[in-house]
Amino acid sequence: MTAVETRTPAALDQAYLTMQRIRAFETKAMELFAEKYIRGSVHPYTGQEAIAVGVCDALQEGDYITSTHRGHGHCIAKGLELRPMMAEITGRATGYCKGRGGSMHITAMRHGMLGADAIVAGSLAMAVGAAYGLRLQGKDAVVVAFFGDGAAQQGIFHEAANLASVLRAPVVFVCENNQWAISTPISCAIAIEDIAERATGYGFPGEVVDGNDVLAVQAVAERAVQRARSGEGPTLIEAKTYRITPHSAATPNDARDPEELARWREQDPIGRLGRHLVETGVATEARLEELGQQAQAEVEDAAAWALESPHPVASEAEEDIYAPADWLTPGRLS
C-alpha cells in the first residue's frame, strides 16, 4: 500500500469513514429497493469506494464533479448529505432533486456536484464545458468526470477528451475500470490492455492506478488535479477495480466467475485501508469498528428521515421544466 506519511491520521480516519458510509449507503439502498421504496434501479458502488474517496480528497472548495448511473459513491465522497440523498432515491420531496431525478440523477450544485447521468459517458463533454467556463470566469476550479470502462467506447468520450486537450480545459477524466459493463467483459469491448493508453491519442497523460488503494488513487489524482489547475490540461486516470455486487438492483443475475469475484473481495478497498491503518498504527481495530458503526448509524438515520419525508405533490409535476425569463435584462435570474 502506498506510503501513508503524506496524510494526517485525521484525514485517514475520515477517508475510512467515508468509504464505510458509501458501503453502508449502498447496502441500505439495495434493501430499500427490495422493499419497493426505491423504483427503477440502484447501481451499487460497492468495491469501488477507494476511487471516489481518493479522487475527491484531491479536490478543493469550488471544484466540481460529474457522475454516472453508479453515482452514490461520488456524491458521498464529494460531501453530499446522506439524508437528502436517501430522500432523492426514495423519490421524496425533500430529496436533492425533489424526487424528480432519482438514483441515477442526483445533482447538488451547492456541493459542486454537477449531476449524475444515466447516459453512459453522457456527461464527459459537459464536464469539459464546465471546466472551460469556470476558467473563463477567472476561477481556478477543476472538474472531475467519473465514468466506467464501458463508457470509454462511446464517441463522446473521444470527442470530449480531444476537445479538452485542444482547449487545455482544467478537467480530469477518471475511468473506473471495473472490467465489466453489465454482462460484457472488457475483453469484448476493447482490444487493448489499458484504456489509459488512449490518452496519447489526445496529447495528454494517461495513468493507470490500483483503484482499490485509496492512497494510490489520491496520489495520482493530486498530480492530475494540480496539472489541470495550473493550466496544463487534462489527464486520463484509469483506476483498475471491480464491483463486488451485481450490476444493479434491477439486474441481479451475475454471470461473472465466482473465483474472480472472490479474488477481488480479498482486495476490498475498505479492508485494505483498514489493515493498513492498523499495521501502521494509525488506527486500532476498535476505532475502525467504531467508524463502521458510525457510518451504519448515519445511513439508518438518513433512511428513516427519508421514509418519513413527504412524496412530491402530483400537481407540481410540470414545475421546474423552464427557468424564469426576463429578456430585458442581460444575465441570469436563477
Binding site: I38, R39, G40, S41, G91, R92, C97, G99, R100, G101, G102, S103, M104, H105, D117, A118, I119, V120, A121, G122, G150, A151, Q153, Q154, G155, A181, I182, S183, T184, C188, A189, I190, T251, A255, H311, P312, V313, A314, S315, E316, A317, E318, I321
Partner: protein
C-alpha cells in the same frame, strides 16, 4: 394447412421466437447489441440465440450506439439483415444521425440502387421509475424521418408477426417495444405466421368513438372500452401497429363511421404522434363528417420524473381517456 395449436406467450418470448425463426431460415440475419449475447438481452428478447447461432451472428457490442447502428446499415447494404438492439429506446438519440441521415436516406440518395434491410429495436421503458433519460416515447421523431418504417406492437401475436416482417422487410425499421408489456402473455399460434407491415388492426369494434392507440396505449383504450360498454358507450379501438407508413384508410373509415376521434399516445404532448394522427385523419375525413372535435390523450409536455406520484401524473391515465370520451360524447 395451419393447425389450431396456440400457446400463451409473453411478448418477449414471442419476439425471441421471431428472431430465432428468422435466423434459422436466413443465414444473413445477425443480432448485435449491448448484453444481447451472453446475457440474452436485459429483457430476454435475445435469450439463447448465442448458443443456437454462435458468436459470429449474435454479438455483444461495446457501448457504442451510433456505431452499432451504422454497422447494421453497412451490413444491410451488402446483403445481410442486421438486427440492432438498443438496450433502452431512448439511446436511439445517440444514433439519430446514423439512423436518419444514413439508414433512412441511403436508398433514396442512391437512386434506388441499394436497400437497407435493418431492424433497430428497443424498449420504451416508462412507468417504472427509470426517470427522464430512460422513459421517453420517441416514435414521433422516427415518423418524421422519411425512409424509416416505424412499428409499435401491443400484443405478443403482433410483436412476433411484425418482427418477422420487419426482419424480412428491405427497409430500415424502428421497432419499439413497451417494457411493461414484455411479461404480458397472449395467444400466439405455434405455426409460422407474419403480420403485414402498414396494416392497422381494429382491436375492438364500436360505434360511438374511434380511439387510435398503439402499444401500451392500446390496452388503456381496451380497458376504457370495457368499462364504458357497461354505460352503453361503444369505443372502436384501432391499433395502427405500424406508425409509418400509417394505415390511414382503416383509421379514416372508422372515424367516418363513429364521427369521433381520440388518439392516445404516451409521448410528450407537443409534436407527438397523436398530433400527426389528428392532422392526417383530417386529410381524409372533413370536419363536416365529425360529430366532435378530435382530442389527444397524451403524456404531459414534461420530461418523465422519477417519483411514482409525479410519473403517474405525467403519463396518460384511464381517467384522462374517460374524460376525453365524455367530452366528445357531450358535443
Amino acid at each position: 394447412m395451419s393447425t389450431v395449436a396456440v400457446r400463451e406467450l409473453t411478448m418477449s418470448e414471442a419476439l425471441n421466437e421471431a428472431i430465432r425463426e428468422e435466423m434459422a431460415i436466413d443465414p444473413t440475419v445477425l443480432v448485435i447489441g449491448e448484453d444481447i449475447a451472453r446475457h440474452g438481452g436485459l429483457f430476454g428478447v435475445t435469450a439463447g440465440l448465442l448458443d443456437e447461432f454462435g458468436a459470429e451472428r449474435v454479438i455483444d457490442s461495446p457501448i457504442s450506439e451510433a456505431a452499432i447502428t451504422g454497422f447494421g446499415t453497412g451490413g444491410a447494404l451488402i446483403g445481410c439483415r442486421p438486427i440492432v438492439e438498443l438496450q433502452i429506446s431512448d439511446f436511439i438519440s445517440l444514433a439519430m444521425d446514423q439512423l436518419v441521415n444514413h439508414a433512412a436516406k441511403w436508398r433514396y440518395m442512391s437512386g434506388g440502387q441499394v436497400s437497407v434491410p435493418l431492424v433497430v429495436r428497443g424498449p420504451i421503458s416508462n412507468g417504472i421509475g427509470m426517470a427522464a433519460q430512460h422513459s421517453q416515447t420517441l416514435e414521433a421523431w422516427f415518423v418524421h424521418a422519411p425512409g424509416l418504417v416505424v412499428i409499435m406492437p401491443s400484443t405478443a401475436y403482433d410483436a412476433k408477426g411484425l418482427l418477422k416482417s420487419a426482419i424480412r422487410d428491405d427497409n430500415p425499421v424502428v421497432f419499439l417495444e413497451k417494457r411493461l408489456l414484455y411479461s404480458r402473455k397472449s395467444p400466439v399460434p405455434a405455426d409460422e405466421f407474419v403480420v403485414p407491415i402498414g396494416v392497422a388492426d381494429v382491436k375492438r369494434e364500436g360505434s360511438d368513438v374511434t380511439v387510435v392507440a398503439a402499444g401500451a396505449s392500446t390496452h388503456l383504450a381496451l380497458q376504457a372500452a370495457r368499462q364504458l360498454a357497461r354505460e352503453g358507450i361503444e369505443l372502436e379501438v384501432v391499433d395502427p401497429r405500424t406508425l409509418k407508413p400509417l394505415d390511414i384508410d382503416t383509421i379514416a373509415e372508422s372515424v367516418a363511421k363513429t364521427g369521433r376521434l381520440i388518439v392516445v399516445n404516451e409521448g410528450a404532448r407537443a409534436g407527438g404522434f397523436a398530433s400527426e394522427v389528428v392532422a392526417r385523419t383530417l386529410d381524409h375525413v372533413p370536419i363536416s363528417e365529425l360529430k366532435a372535435t378530435p382530442l389527444r390523450v397524451t403524456a404531459k409536455d414534461t420530461p418523465i420524473p422519477y417519483s411514482a406520484s409525479l410519473e403517474r401524473e405525467v403519463l396518460p391515465s384511464l381517467d384522462d381517456l374517460l374524460d376525453a370520451v365524455a367530452t366528445v360524447m357531450a358535443s
